[in-house]
């Protein structure tokens, strides 16, 4: 009997375990797997440039075998604009944490969409600032304890940001969705979202955006299993999965 590989290392893989420093059970690499595989499926690998400004993503995104950029926290959105404008034929993905997109980079994010920049943005939402030690992020859920909301997030600290819903109202946005990988079905659905988002870029329609809810067991002080449950039972009810915009022309 012959064996055929069904699934293994993601496509676009630079075999370098030294650079793979994510925590056990971290779901971050699942979205990178999705992104890498979709790039491969769309056949755009040779012209892809990944721009990563998500903090925990630094080591994780470095596993790619394609051109990559690592600007500072919050800058990846504008930096991607710079790359895409100079290389309109290239395929540009910008990765950001929820801190990047919803906090420090929110102005860049809104304006990239307003200008209808033709690249794709992935926001990895792990509900807090993981790299710096688990502070409140705009996406933090109500009641969630972080190092800067030690009593849990209360209304005095505002309410969880819903970026895909918000950016869907901007005319320059071609596609906006929220996915997760709390189970295999949602993993596969998220992959579909990502593929659609990327196709908008290929078709030069407009700005495309996918938020990914990502379990962070270490940062949340949970077992991996508890962290998946948290995504399911806490995050998804507040931050529903699905598509919020999907158009083929912006006019």
């Amino acid at each position: 009997m012959k064996k055929e590989l069904v699934s293994g290392l993601p496509k676009l893989w630079a075999h370098n375990p030294a650079e793979r420093l994510e925590c056990p059970g971290c779901q971050y690499p699942l979205i990178t797997r999705i992104v890498y595989d979709v790039i491969d499926e769309l056949g755009v690998e040779g012209k892809t440039i990944l721009v990563n400004s998500s903090a925990c993503g630094y080591g994780i995104v470095l596993t790619t075998s394609v051109d990559a950029m690592f600007p500072n926290h919050g800058q990846g959105i504008d930096v991607a604009t710079g790359v895409k404008r100079l290389l309109p034929d290239c395929f540009i993905i910008s990765f950001g944490g929820d801190g990047d997109v919803a906090a420090i980079g929110a102005g860049a994010f809104v304006n990239a969409a307003q200008r209808a920049e033709k690249y794709s943005m992935i926001m990895v939402n792990n509900g807090h600032f993981a790299m710096t030690g688990g502070q409140l992020a705009p996406t933090t859920l109500m009641g969630q304890v972080t190092t800067t909301s030690p009593e849990g997030r209360g209304p005095a600290m505002g309410y969880p940001a819903r970026m895909p819903e918000m950016i869907a109202t901007v005319q320059g946005t071609a596609y906006s969705a929220r996915g997760a990988a709390n189970n295999p079905a949602n993993f596969l659905k998220t992959k579909k979202y990502v593929k659609k988002a990327f196709q908008k870029q290929i078709d030069n329609v407009g700005f495309s955006f996918v938020e990914f809810l990502s379990a962070c067991p270490t940062g949340w002080h949970m077992t991996p299993q508890e962290s998946i449950k948290w995504v399911e039972e806490k995050m998804i009810p507040t931050l529903p999965l699905g598509e919020f915009k999907d158009v083929d022309t912006l006019d």
Binding site: L21, C23, Y58, G59, M131, T218
Partner: protein, 187 residues
């Protein structure tokens, strides 16, 4: 070190993140406060990597503590044996290198320092929780260095874990096991 005058003591604890390196050092430094005019704890850990190299410096002294950084210390506790050669160089002449024996498969070259190899991990597993190994090594250190009277350290330990009785007991026992072990090794 002159145990009776005890004007200054210093210590480096080194290992990997998650081995209780930083906590152990801070416990000692806090305990030392009531005894010494000055006490200092300086952590040092890799920024991006969880589980990477981790180290802390502990100094107590009745004189001002100038440099918070030690080129060399009287004692080094090494929880991560593969780094032996590196830390052999950081012990002051006449001092101690206290090293976890599990995974240790070399020895030191210097003759002017003493190496104490301690099966702390095994001992901790026997006690029911591998995470207690750091307290065992701390006990060994105090056993040989005697820089702070044992009751003061135990008091601080009890205070720190006041709200977690099981953890308190585990750590206290581990610490005492370490002291015993020191006396055995010294003998």
């Amino acid at each position: 070190m002159d145990k009776s005058v005890s004007k200054r003591a210093d210590l480096i604890i080194a290992g990997l993140g998650g081995q209780g390196i930083l906590m152990g050092g801070k416990l000692l430094a806090t305990a030392a406060m009531s005894l010494y005019r000055c006490s200092l704890w300086l952590p040092s850990y890799a920024s991006r990597v969880r589980g990477g190299p981790s180290e802390c410096t502990v100094i107590f002294s009745n004189d001002d503590i100038d440099s918070p950084i030690l080129s060399k210390a009287y004692a080094v506790i090494l929880v991560d044996p593969p780094q032996l050669k590196l830390f052999e160089q950081r012990v002051r002449s006449g001092g101690y290198l206290i090293v976890e024996s599990a995974g240790l498969n070399e020895t030191i070259e210097r003759k002017d320092i003493k190496m104490l190899s301690v099966p702390a991990l095994n001992m901790a597993v026997e006690m029911g929780d591998r995470r207690a190994s750091n307290m065992i090594l701390l006990g060994v250190y105090l056993g040989v260095a005697d820089s702070i009277p044992v009751p003061i350290v135990e008091e601080e330990l009890n205070r720190r874990f006041a709200k977690k009785e099981k953890v308190r007991l585990l750590n206290l026992n581990a610490f005492r096991k370490g002291l015993e072990e020191a006396h055995k090794l010294a003998a």
